[in-house]
Symmetry: C2
Subunit: 353 residues, 2 copies
DNA sequence: GCAGGTGGTTGAATCGTTACATAACCTCCT
DNA sequence: AGGAGGTTATGTAACGATTCAACCACCTGC
């Protein structure tokens, strides 16, 4: 076993032609005459010849791959983005190298070096904060970079993102339409741009409705996971009934699930006693015991568009214009925020009588 | 912008040495004298030289990457496996090319060709059914293959998997210990090896307890997702109370979440009226409104071990022995199957009095 | 004074593929 | 017959890094 792989030379010898002809059969089959072509193809099959991609790349100067660097492959947001990227890339015959920075500078730097050494066509990245300079350098050296889910401050590169301010606005407007008040915002740390934007959107919605931003009960969390959500849920449940919010908008679905779990444990009905809206619309939002309303982002589309922009830049050369594409999120209403204004809860008998 | 990348030759010229010396600085810095070394390093930095990985690979004959082909990157099981693989690979300075077969033969074949052209060190794969011959061929041509989450029938290759029969046994034994009876099994299609094994384990547990396998209420589903679980949950809820199972073992967590959702919607208490045990222990199992008991697989470990076996085969050459590693799953008990034997449910007042 | 090290550096050959300039051979037309 | 034009096939020079035999300069010990 482990035979040395066969090269184009051996194929040529076996078929009684020159290496140039074999190469032509592989890359421009139309320029070689039928009998020769089939003879070569037979030889390829018989010897089990497999193209050597490294040699092709060396010759071509660039590899036929693109790099995708995400903060966390286990996060459904990024896996969906990755699938979008992959779909687009494979249509152009490109492979995707998926890298996981874990939100650590060191890992990100390591992967960027690796991708540059591989001479990828370009890099799609959700950068850890403060990576601007490194990315600019990459670009100067000739590797196109497209930012994913973060906006380029300098306009020196393409980017795709989703309007998180609008997302927060949609969620809170929906709750206000159902007469909820006061409303709580659960999320943090605010150093994460997405979280801050969603909060800003929430405030915008309140102000547009003529309600003071001070009435928003902001509960800051240290992380965006389920247990942080539970903690926030407990904090809300412990508030005196008179001041307790009747609705909660969470900065992501994990927090929302945590809040929901806590409410269920304390037998506080959702949505009867408190409505919940999450963000991201992860698969499990719909699967929760009480299906969760959530703000959906066009994740697959995000990846696809990012890959398109990258390919345009990598292949289009001179004519390329950097673009900042911003998608709009969409509110998906489910049971957890079914309209139940305060009035209906306070006086159910009145309605029944 | 887009300057032509600088080669080792230019570095050599700039530092006033030969290309051989530059290569030595890069690969065996200890053999070159200090003043020369720092001169070369300065030149590298100044010119912004980046190694060309393709050229290295061409020379070396093999790339410094391994391929990982999974059925679905969006599935948390595979993302955790992938992280395990990545951790192990990066310790050896290897990159991972992650490919998504979507359980489709065509995509799998396409990616296998791509990986072979890339001359990867080896391939880790959860194959679609009937891929045996293709994989054997790969191996004959010199690319090591390790099966992930499926056992090699021929012993001609390494494999890592988890004992699904044991997993089913653990789950049902746990339910039997709490006096549950009858018990339902929800899962399908049985053509999936994992599902059939888990059912077999469930039956084994019953028989060991001296209970006829006929008493197991098997509810077959067409898929392993939440909505199939809801359907199964509805079927169970609709059964006459006398014959209705007091516990359900689901072939995976998505089904279990579906069952839980349906029970919640119908106000059937979990675990008071019916206990639920899932399988996989996905992140959202613990996050469910009623935290879900589940059978956990050592996913990260699975990936790590698979990568280790692969590297042993790829680098160890002659001394390598194919091994079939089987891991043991672990039952995680949470609220959804908190012990509530039938007796306790029937006569709560007796206990209280 | 010379054989034998030793430490440092060099230069050319090599990996497999592609692109391109060139050659060989037809066919058809004047 | 001679050339123009077209189709096929060939041979070779890159691409960039690594490896290795050869070489040089200098030292050591006899």
């Amino acid at each position: 076993m482990a035979n040395a792989p066969v090269s184009i030379r051996e194929v040529a010898a076996h078929a009684g032609v020159s290496v140039g002809t074999v190469s032509n059969v592989l890359n421009r089959p139309d320029v070689v005459a039928e009998p020769t072509r089939s003879r070569v193809q037979a030889a390829i099959k018989q010897l089990g010849f497999i193209r050597n991609e490294s040699a092709r790349q060396l010759r071509a100067g660039r590899s036929r791959t693109i790099g995708l660097v995400v903060l966390d492959v286990a996060n459904p947001f990024f896996t969906d983005v990755a699938r979008g990227v992959e779909d687009e890339a494979s249509e152009s015959g490109l492979a995707v190298i998926l890298c996981n920075s874990d939100d650590k500078q060191a890992k990100e730097t390591h992967y960027l070096e690796l991708l540059e050494e591989h001479r990828v066509q370009g890099i799609l990245i959700t950068p850890v904060s403060g990576a601007q300079e490194r990315l600019a350098q990459l670009q100067r050296r000739g590797t196109p970079v497209v930012l994913v889910d973060s906006r380029s401050p300098t306009r020196g590169q393409c980017s795709v993102s989703v309007d998180d301010v609008l997302g927060g606005d949609l969620a809170v407007s929906h709750l206000l339409a159902a007469q909820h008040e006061p409303i709580a915002f659960v999320g943090g740390p605010l150093s994460i741009r997405q979280v801050a934007d969603r909060l800003e959107g929430a405030i915008r919605a309140l102000e547009r409705a003529g309600i003071s931003a001070d009435s928003l009960c902001v509960i800051k969390t240290a992380a965006l996971n389920v247990s942080a959500g539970q903690g926030a849920g407990a904090a809300i449940a412990d508030m005196p009934a008179a001041r307790r919010p009747t609705a909660v908008f969470c900065a992501n679905d994990l927090l929302a699930l945590g809040v929901l779990q806590e409410m269920t444990a304390r037998k506080i009905g959702v949505p009867e006693s408190i409505a919940i809206v999450g963000y991201d619309d992860i698969e499990f939002a719909a699967a929760a015991a009480v299906p969760l309303s959530s703000v959906r982002q066009p994740r697959h589309q995000l990846g696809r568009t990012a890959a398109q922009l990258l390919l345009d830049e990598a292949l289009g050369e001179a004519s390329h214009q950097h673009r900042q594409v911003v998608f709009e999120p969409e509110l998906v209403v489910r049971q957890s925020s079914q309209a139940r204004p305060r009035e209906a809860r306070i006086a159910p008998t009145e309605a029944a009588g």
